[in-house]
């Protein structure tokens, strides 16, 4: 790369002319321009995984869909973030998530503070079309300060990533695969017995649902503080 490459790309998102640096994703640039793309697994500051598929967008000229959170901007690309097709897919994906757990908001401590719930509201979901699969999962309250309710876990792996990448403890990981996948602490032990957990609570704050919560909260009391992550990340990078 001897000739200086054009580092800034110009593109269109929903017919608006925008520009972004070449290492930025469609999602980055959309957010800078206040264009809303729904996301669930993505958290700025954690490595992107592209697993929830809610941020899928269309790019003109391609029949495929692209996850905005990991697709880099390219010169001249024309991105469509809202269409009937996308809306229907996003709805179905959320419905699948609801069908695969036990998400009864009315009894949840995170009611009103849940990203899954608010996404469903924004996308206009009022009933779940798919039959509930009703897996009967455990609730682990062995930790002094926190509780994990696997029935409300959507396996976005935010806790796994923040614990490994930011706190550095790597207490959490995923075990099994497919429908039997679960988050685990250490060797699939009770959280309270974990030798590696520092009880920092980062996982709890980043969990989008009521799967990881603080103890002693009653319905709708659990609100989460996510601001710490951009702070830590920017301090580490020595910027701002």
């Amino acid at each position: 790369m001897s000739t200086a490459p054009a580092r800034v790309k110009t593109l269109k998102i929903d017919d608006r002319d925008v520009s972004g640096r070449e290492e930025e994703t469609i999602l980055d640039v959309a957010r800078q321009n206040r264009i809303n793309i729904p996301t669930l697994c993505h958290v700025p500051g954690l490595s992107p995984v592209g697993s929830c598929r809610l941020c899928l967008v269309e790019i003109k000229g391609s029949p495929k869909l692209f996850p905005a959170c990991v697709t880099l901007v390219r010169e001249g690309m024309e991105v469509v973030t809202k269409s009937e097709r996308l809306a229907s897919y996003r709805k179905m994906i959320l419905e699948l998530l609801f069908s695969d757990g036990n998400h009864i908001c009315a009894v949840c401590v995170s009611n009103g503070n849940c990203e899954l719930q608010s996404l469903a509201q924004n996308l206009g979901i009022d009933s779940i079309r798919f039959p509930y699969r009703f897996p009967k999962l455990t609730v682990d309250a062995s930790h002094q300060r926190f509780v994990v309710d696997h029935n409300r876990c959507i396996l976005c792996a935010r806790c796994v990533r923040v614990c490994g990448e930011v706190e550095g403890a790597h207490t959490w990981d995923l075990m099994g695969r497919g429908t039997s996948m679960r988050i685990i602490s250490d060797m699939n032990e009770a959280w309270g017995d974990s030798e590696t957990c520092t009880s920092c609570g980062k996982c709890v704050q980043l969990c989008p649902t009521g799967a990881l919560v603080e103890k002693g909260k009653s319905v709708a009391e659990m609100s989460k503080k996510k601001g710490f992550l951009p702070y830590i990340v920017s301090m580490r990078e020595g910027r701002r």
Binding site: D173, M175, R177, N188, T196
Partner: protein, 165 residues
């Protein structure tokens, strides 16, 4: 446990740990040798118990949850001891088309075990595999290490009877 972490000294005096240690040494105790090491443990001890997983985690400096996550992702790894005899029934497409469901039913009726289970006396483990690569001989199975093909429900059960004498 903290003092042990990173230690390459085996958890017990069982000499079989030497084989595991040698496998890790061959890979320079690099974290990426995790799957290779788990293969060696399973080959040596027959399954992966908690003690082994903790030892491997420490020696290769891989987080405990990651070791457990890897061991449970791959269906080839057993976290429980297996029976004295193992019958691996192929449930690949060719074998399915040629009548494996009936074989599994026959085994369940005779021994009361489904794939993934072991008889209560610890004698026979029934395992299912996705294609043994012997599709030309479908339905195929591996019985205590020997590939047998063109099986019928009756023949399968008869072969297993030899283990229960």
């Amino acid at each position: 446990m903290w003092t042990e972490f990173g230690s390459t000294t085996p958890p017990s005096s069982d000499t079989r740990w030497r084989i595991v240690g040698a496998a890790m040494r061959k890979h320079g105790y690099r974290p990426n040798a995790l799957i290779e090491t788990l293969h060696t443990v399973q080959e040596t001890f027959g399954y992966l118990d908690e003690q082994a997983l903790r030892f491997v985690a420490g020696a290769l400096r891989v987080p405990l949850s990651q070791v457990y996550g890897v061991a449970t992702f791959y269906h080839f790894f057993n976290l429980k001891p297996q029976g004295r005899h193992t019958c691996v029934i192929c449930t690949g497409t060719a074998c399915y088309i040629k009548g494996v469901p009936a074989i599994l039913t026959a085994i369940e009726e005779t021994y009361g075990i489904k794939p993934g289970e072991t008889t209560s006396d610890g004698n026979i483990s029934l395992v299912s595999a996705r294609c043994l690569g012997s599709c030309g001989l479908a339905p195929a199975a591996v019985m205590d290490g020997d590939v047998v093909g063109k099986l019928t429900p009756l023949e399968t059960v008869n072969r297993m009877r030899r283990w229960t004498k």
